[in-house]
């Protein structure tokens, strides 16, 4: 493993942390993507603008990154798996009150025991899922 990608990972992590901290310091909000987007389904009056603006920021950042360095287009799973996985990610992050950003970055950063439990659970289950699909059931899913 060469050093450079790991340094990029660290720098990207620092930027993720800074942007999330910015939302807390400026607006007092938790930068949890599943919560921000899930709060639009269904939309609530008076609570729409900042959520759409955050989503626009994510998309805008994606467009810039795609223009500069390219985003991946080949997904490592079949379409049926993407549908099942998407449903689980959407329902699960709402039921569990957060995803990698809300629990992982903001929750762990605040020392929340609920977030620690959530992160240990979803990471542990994800490790297990990859182990089963790649090494027990064999091949790409």
């Amino acid at each position: 493993m060469p050093l450079q990608p790991l340094l990029a990972s660290l720098a990207g992590g620092l930027l993720i942390g800074a942007a999330s901290l910015g939302l807390l310091a400026l607006s007092g909000r938790v930068a949890g993507v599943s919560g921000i987007i899930g709060g639009l389904l269904p939309p609530q009056r008076g609570d729409l603008d900042w959520r759409l603006a955050y989503f626009s920021g994510l998309l805008g950042g994606g467009l810039l990154w795609n223009a500069w360095f390219g985003l991946p287009t080949a997904m490592p799973a079949s379409r049926p798996t993407l549908i099942v996985g998407g449903l689980l990610v959407g329902f699960g992050t709402r039921l569990g009150n957060g995803c990698t950003s809300g629990h992982g970055v903001c929750g762990l950063g605040r020392g929340s025991p609920r977030s620690l439990a959530a992160v240990l659970t979803f990471m542990g289950v994800a490790f297990l899922t990859v182990f089963l699909t790649r090494h027990i059931l064999g091949g790409a899913s």
Binding site: S9, R29, F69, S101, A118, L128
Partner: protein
Amino acid sequence: MRSSLIALGCGLGFALGLGLSGMVDPNRVLAFLDLAGDWEPNLMFVLGGAVGVYALGARKVLAWPRPWDGLRFQVPTRRSLDRRLLLGAAMFGVGWGLTGLCPGPALVNLAAAAADLWIFVTAMLTGMALFSVFNRFAPAR
């Protein structure tokens, strides 16, 4: 207006951080989650950097009387664990392990307009909306 500009900027920074960190590539996420394969430690650097910055900053920020733009901090205060948290996190873990995609990177990747990714995001948003329906009939106590 001001809260939307803040959200836009923070979402943009967050997305660029995801790009720089490599988290936008589900193949690299799965390489981290594949402990028994050709393991990449990338995500430890991403999460370490992000949580580190957030933890250092949040300690100071949350001691302020209020955020820069807003009356109060809207931060979860509950500390006890419950079944929903753990079950939701576990569902998310399965979906994440199957696809290598979590909500933030999935939405940033919309910018590349890849059909497979759009399928995942549609399923994810459907899962979130299904949760809203579920939550109406079985609200958390």
